[in-house]
């Protein structure tokens, strides 16, 4: 019964008349033309998010690298100061 009902519901109970498109277009020609805005293919939101994450990671890496280098430089400078004092 369920399959039978599904088949019945899938059936087109009504059909468009053969000249339906023509009739619609005839009426549309009398109407003003709408100003439509179609989205041009741009970068999608997930892509944008991924790019932002990449940028944050890169900034973090560069920042922590610079911090490490400055720590190393101050250590070397301290060593030099200590040995120079002797």
């Amino acid at each position: 019964m369920n399959d039978e009902l599904d088949a019945l519901l899938q059936d087109d109970l009504l059909q468009a008349p053969a000249d339906f498109t023509q009739r619609v277009m005839q009426r549309i020609e009398a109407l003003p033309r709408p100003a439509i805005q179609v989205a041009t293919p741009t970068r999608s939101a997930p892509q944008r998010w991924q790019r932002l994450r990449w940028l944050a990671t890169a900034t973090g890496l560069v920042g922590s690298g610079l911090l490490g280098l400055s720590q190393l430089a101050s250590f070397v400078f301290g060593l030099w100061l200590a040995t120079a004092a002797v």
Partner: protein, 186 residues
């Protein structure tokens, strides 16, 4: 993608490209209106009005946020809802206005049986509550997914599933009762 290309052509000034959208969606639209229990004449009016409104409001359609098919069926559903709720509904949707047999060419007995099945189905559909009927009519549109149906109906996915289950159950009951009544008469 095909719809996007057509919309881009319309935006470029090619008005005739809209005919391709009408060709593309008229069949599922009439199928939907038929499942809502509308008669042929009323369905033609609503389908035509749907496309005219879609054309007039194309500037409001945001292709980035919505699918054209979802938007179109939302318009159709709202128009059909209003038509069905109007006081003249009972007079306008007359049994005589039921669909004619479609293009397949079975024998006369098969055609008659099929027509009777459709008539029974349409009269059973009309007895369903409007909200359940609308969800049921939309779910058989191949171009729409269940999430699209939920969006059009403005309801959650779970609620739509419940409505569908309820509608099918009721429809089966109504059809069974109708068949039993017919056999008793014979």
């Amino acid at each position: 993608m095909k719809v996007q290309a057509i919309l881009r052509r319309i935006a470029a000034g090619e008005q005739r490209a809209f005919a391709e959208l009408v060709d593309l969606y008229q069949r599922p639209l009439f199928g939907f209106l038929g499942r809502l229990g509308l008669g042929q004449a009323q369905a033609e009016d609503i389908a035509q009005e749907t496309f005219l409104r879609a054309w007039s409001h194309l500037s409001r359609f945001e292709s980035e946020h919505a699918q054209f098919v979802t938007w179109l069926f939302t318009i159709a559903r709202n128009l059909a809802y209003n038509a069905l709720q109007s006081a003249h509904q009972k007079q306008e949707t007359h049994e005589a206005d039921l669909p004619e047999p479609t293009c397949e060419q079975p024998g006369p007995a098969q055609t008659l049986e099929r027509t009777q099945q459709r008539t029974r189905l349409q009269s059973a559909l009309r007895q369903l509550p409007m909200a359940d009927r609308s969800a049921l009519a939309l779910v058989y549109v191949h171009e729409l997914g269940l999430a699209d149906v939920a969006r059009i109906e403005g309801d959650s996915l779970a609620a739509i599933k419940t409505r569908l289950h309820r509608a099918k159950l009721k429809l089966r009951e109504l059809l069974q009762a109708d068949t039993e009544l017919e056999t008793r008469h014979e």
